[in-house]
């Protein structure tokens, strides 16, 4: 019952949004608004090659011609794209060479967030504790990446994408935009034009990455959009587990986060991508919070490749996110495990697409949604089987739990089968938190909030187990915190 204890402790010990502090860091901004000059400004700041600038400008042109999507079941105040800052970076002369050169204030922030950036601190920790290499992205730039040297010894490249553009331009050029094309959607086009940083990962053939890789995103600056870009390439027969975490200060305004994550898995490669999304969700009245408009997609390009997405979505005012798999290689497989918890006025429209193109491709989707307060949660998913994809298998399960009379929970799956040998199975349920179970737990001495946390953790357990250990502990705490005040 360690999880129960964790949950109870978490409820007792933590504030509603523990990461909501702001920090005064001296920063450098691009001029407010968006035009071709801003795109040039960002590209120049990063010292990018000429082709990259052209790529960005082309994306910007595309974006201008596109319209913001309206099909998702979310409502939000329109974003004034000309009123945002597209670049904010802590002031410093050059990119930091070592931890000693990073602004101590920033190190302090990550310390407060519980993200260890000093390798020796990680090493000095509990004996046998897993080591995690971290790329810390602060607003628009990566401030530090740990364990780079050790990873380099086995040929793993893990660095800010801005750095990779300078050091491995050909590798980046080969894969960037090959999974999520520039014109894929409105937010992806915007990201392609203005992304400022993010992580780049390359795992060479046959290498099992010796530690988990992690990127920690922090939005700090006000009125600033964060547009990060992550590119993960798993070469033949390699394996990597990647974690992503994120927080933002509590601010009255809505802040835009429009990220793009691209994953390429070649023959026999396996990538596990785990996210705990804890952006600021806004206050109890629905004021403020992050607009989380994210495009995440994996291309299982190689035969027998495998990509697994696991996400715990507790934050953001509005979430629009569908981590997907294009199952191109024969015998490749894709997985999507999701927990989406909404409370207050949060809205989440999330799910996945499994596009079966290759023979004997398999996919598995487990999505758990918990809605409380006045929130709205939608699972939206697509399983599609193309005419040449024989022997396809899919299993999908979507379960929704409602807590309270004023929330909503929706399930919108699309199933498109164009091959006679496909076997597709989809199940969905919607229920409310059981009064009997709640009472039972309370009779045994749990407070109402503890009982809710306990039952909800039980409801999402299947997915929780897919997370790496240390992430799962954090996620369980988040479940408890996210649902505070949801009953009664």
């Amino acid at each position: 019952m360690a999880a129960v204890k964790e949950t109870i402790d978490a409820v007792a010990a933590l504030e509603k949004y523990a990461h909501g502090f702001t920090s005064d860091i001296e920063q450098e901004f691009a001029p407010r608004g968006l035009n071709a000059d801003i795109v040039r400004f960002i590209s120049e700041k990063k010292g990018e090659p000429e082709w990259m600038l052209e790529w960005r400008l082309a994306a910007y042109e595309r974006w201008l011609a596109m319209e913001e999507p309206t099909w998702a079941a979310v409502k939000y105040e329109p974003v004034d794209y000309q009123d945002l800052f597209y670049y904010a970076a802590p002031k410093q002369k050059e990119g930091p060479k070592s931890l000693d050169e990073v602004d101590p204030e920033i190190l302090e922030i990550y310390k407060k967030l519980g993200i260890p950036l000093k390798e020796q601190e990680v090493l000095a920790g509990v004996q046998g504790a897993p080591r995690v290499a971290v790329d810390a992205v602060f607003d628009s730039v990566s401030v530090v990446t740990t364990f780079k040297e050790e990873l380099a010894k086995v040929g793993v490249i893990f660095m800010p994408i801005s750095e990779a553009l300078r050091e491995y331009p050909e590798l980046v050029r080969q894969y960037l935009g090959s999974v999520v094309p520039v014109s894929d959607n409105y937010f992806a086009a915007l990201n392609s034009a203005v992304f400022s940083d993010g992580s780049f990962v390359y795992i060479p053939p046959g290498v099992r990455c010796p530690m988990e890789l992690s990127t920690y995103f922090r939005i700090n600056a006000s009125q600033t959009g964060q547009f990060e870009r992550t590119l993960i390439i798993a070469d033949k027969g390699s394996y990597v587990s990647y974690l992503e975490g994120c927080t933002a200060p509590m601010r009255d305004e809505n802040q835009l986060h429009a990220a793009v994550v691209e994953i390429v898995a070649l023959d026999d490669a396996e990538v596990k991508y785990s996210t705990v999304q804890n952006w600021y969700p806004g206050d109890a009245e629905g004021k403020g919070g992050i607009y989380n408009f994210v495009t995440k997609r994996a291309d299982c390009r190689g035969d027998r490749s495998k990509v697994s997405w696991t996400q715990v979505e507790t934050g953001s005012a509005v979430t629009w996110k569908y981590p997907s798999c294009i199952l191109k290689g024969d015998d490749s497989s894709g997985e999507f495990y999701s927990i989406a918890i909404t409370n207050g006025h949060q809205q989440a429209d999330t799910g996945t697409k499994m596009i079966h193109l290759g023979k004997n491709t398999k996919s598995r989707i487990i999505a758990k949604a918990v809605s409380a307060g006045k929130s709205d949660s939608t699972y939206r998913g697509l399983v599609s089987v193309h005419p040449k994809a024989t022997g396809v298998r899919n299993f999908t399960q979507c379960d929704s739990l409602l807590i309270g009379k004023e929330c909503g929970s929706h399930t919108i799956p699309y199933i498109e089968a164009r091959n006679g040998s496909a076997q597709l199975e989809h199940e969905a349920t919607t229920t409310r938190l059981s009064d009997d179970q709640l009472f039972y737990a309370q009779q045994r001495g749990l407070s109402q909030e503890e009982a809710v946390a306990l039952l909800v953790n039980g409801f999402v357990r299947d997915v929780m187990q897919k997370l790496p250990m240390e992430f799962a502990v954090e996620a369980q705490k988040l479940v408890a915190i996210s649902l505070e005040g949801s009953v009664g």
Partner: protein, 340 residues
Amino acid sequence: MSAAFNIDLTDAESFPSRRNEAWKYSDLKRWLREAPQPSPTAAVGAPGPFYDLGGDAIVFANGRAVGVTDFIASGEQTLRLRYISDAVGTGHSAGARVAVRAGAKLLLLETHEGAGSAYVAHNTLELDVAAGAEVTRVVLVEEPEDAISVSEAHVKVEAGGVYRQTIIATGAKLQRIETRLSHFAQGAHVQADGLYLLNGSRHTDLTSVVRHMEHDGTTSQLIKGVARDTARGVFQGKIVVERGADGTDARMGHHALIASERAEIDAKPELIIYADDVQCAHGNTVGTLDESALFYMEQRGIPAEEARALLTQAFLIEVIDRIEHEGAREVAREWLTARL
């Protein structure tokens, strides 16, 4: 977005395309670019599949009513509603209204009897089921392979009303059979079943929107389908539970077989829930005939084709078995068996 499309066959502007989310899988505009010329009059020929079950009749021939278009049921009655199409390349619309009085019981036997070729038919039915009334509606749809048809039923069920429907469709060039149903008051019980059996390049689209507006309603939906050759089966089922419709119990299942390499099944089973005291579930499966069952049957001497037909029938028959009225059930069973 989710409101019904007001299709008017005389106005091409009113035809939805796949850009309209609700018509994503049935692109009417693609097949029907211009408004068709109006169909000429047609004769009512054969008596129709349900003739032996008797009762009153509303009959449309190429959209023209042969007698009444409206019907009010009281006591215990049977009504045959026949949409007859016999036209070549022209279009026609028909609309019927049926009201079932409180406590009355109606057996509504609807047939879409198509002959000729390449016609366009648009049929609408408005059906009000008053408090405590009970309606069983069985719909048989048979049309030429190159016809286009859109049928809409708007059904309102009042407190404690019982409404059961079973739609049996064999497709056309584009065939859309849409049911929009409201649990208008508390404690209504709805069964919204259907099956489709498609050959050649036929297309059918069974779309339903069931709206729970008041508490303690139940909905049970079982749809089964088989697509052969290059046919395409579409199921879009939406169950909406509005704020305050507590005690709702809604279950939806769609199960389809793709019986050839090039057939297609598209499904979109939706749950839109705004009340918390609910039990809602949907299940959707798409697959092929069980290979081991096929081999087992062949091992016992049943030739492959016969084994397939037997397994297909066994798969579909569950929907027929759920038809409450025995006479209607047997007609439906024979009708289906003859088309396997």
